[in-house]
């Protein structure tokens, strides 16, 4: 029992830290979108992605979705430090599942529609995928 709650605690810490990193990336990339300023990128894809119409959904820039998603996960992971209720984890799992599908869809769009990949988006996609895997793991632990 103690092992289980310890594992859950650790998983929650990792999710929290990852969500903060995701949040910082989202804020940085979003300010680039809003100020129309170049985004510092390891490869040359960020600018192409930033300027593509596919990087907006109903007029909302894609990093804004990341910002909301990561903020919610950060807050929920924080709340889990003083509440053992299951609903918080379910909420994280829900957001992470949506996030996972979202980054999957956007990575596909980058490669096949925009024909460019941006380093930050790729890092964010990895982070969201890991958060998703960890929240599934937490869910399974909790259900045991």
């Amino acid at each position: 029992m103690k092992d289980k709650s310890n594992s859950l605690l650790k998983l929650n810490r990792i999710i929290f830290v990852l969500a903060i990193i995701g949040l910082i990336i989202a804020v940085y990339v979003l300010q680039g979108f809003l100020r129309q300023a170049p985004i510092v990128c390891i490869n040359t894809g960020c600018e192409q992605v930033r300027k593509s119409a596919s990087s907006y959904i109903f007029g909302i820039p894609v990093p804004a979705f990341g910002l909301v998603g990561y903020s919610l996960i950060t807050i929920l992971a924080f709340l889990r430090t003083f509440s053992t209720g299951k609903s918080l984890l379910y909420a994280i799992l829900g957001i992470a599942s949506f996030g996972f599908l979202f980054v999957g869809w956007f990575t596909y769009t980058e490669i096949f529609v925009i024909n460019a990949t941006c380093t930050w988006c790729a890092i964010s996609a990895v982070i969201m995928t890991v958060i998703f895997i960890l929240s599934v793991k937490s869910y399974m632990l909790l259900k045991k």
């Binding site: 810490r13 929290f16 903060i20 170049p38 510092v40 990128c41 040359t44 430090t81 003083f82």
Partner: protein, 208 residues
Amino acid sequence: MRLTNETKIFIGIIVVTLIIVGLGVFLFSRPEQILSKEDLLPAGTITKGLVSSKVYLVEFSDFQCPACKSFKPIVDEITSTYKDKLYFGYRHFPLTQHPFAQKSAEAAEAANEQGKFWQMYDYLFAKQDDLSDAVIDGGVKELGLDTAKFQADMKSDKVKNKIEKDLADGNKFGISATPTFFLNGKKLNLDQLSDLKTAVEKAIQQPL
């Protein structure tokens, strides 16, 4: 309300993150520095236009970089339209991810030793899709260069040192991508090709 240890750890993480981000923002938002003309146009830099122009533009470029090629017609246009109002300098910034960039820069410098830099510059950008040795040799013939001298110059220390200096300066000036333009010492942030022309024209029209 008593905080659990876990909550304290999380608050700690938040505080540390805020400090790191705050420092990062502080360091990266330092006011833009204006570089001196001596730093941007050291002796030996390849230039075009009127030396005494009040406006000078320096480009750090890579012959294998597609964006540099896109900017080339704009650069050609402004340097010819404003040849008596603008002093333009070309400096090398061959990126490591471009396998032919270094060699092309050497070829351009070797052509410069025979007074044909700009012809080689036109040739290399035109052949950007394939900058193999054979293509460079083709350029040597096309421009009527002395092949033996060209080959020797390509390997010379003078040429290598010059490109190395350009690269080192570019890194010192904080260049992260090509092309990067400096207009009167100030780094330009260009969103689209036409921004370059607009910025140069604005600088030319401004009274001293």
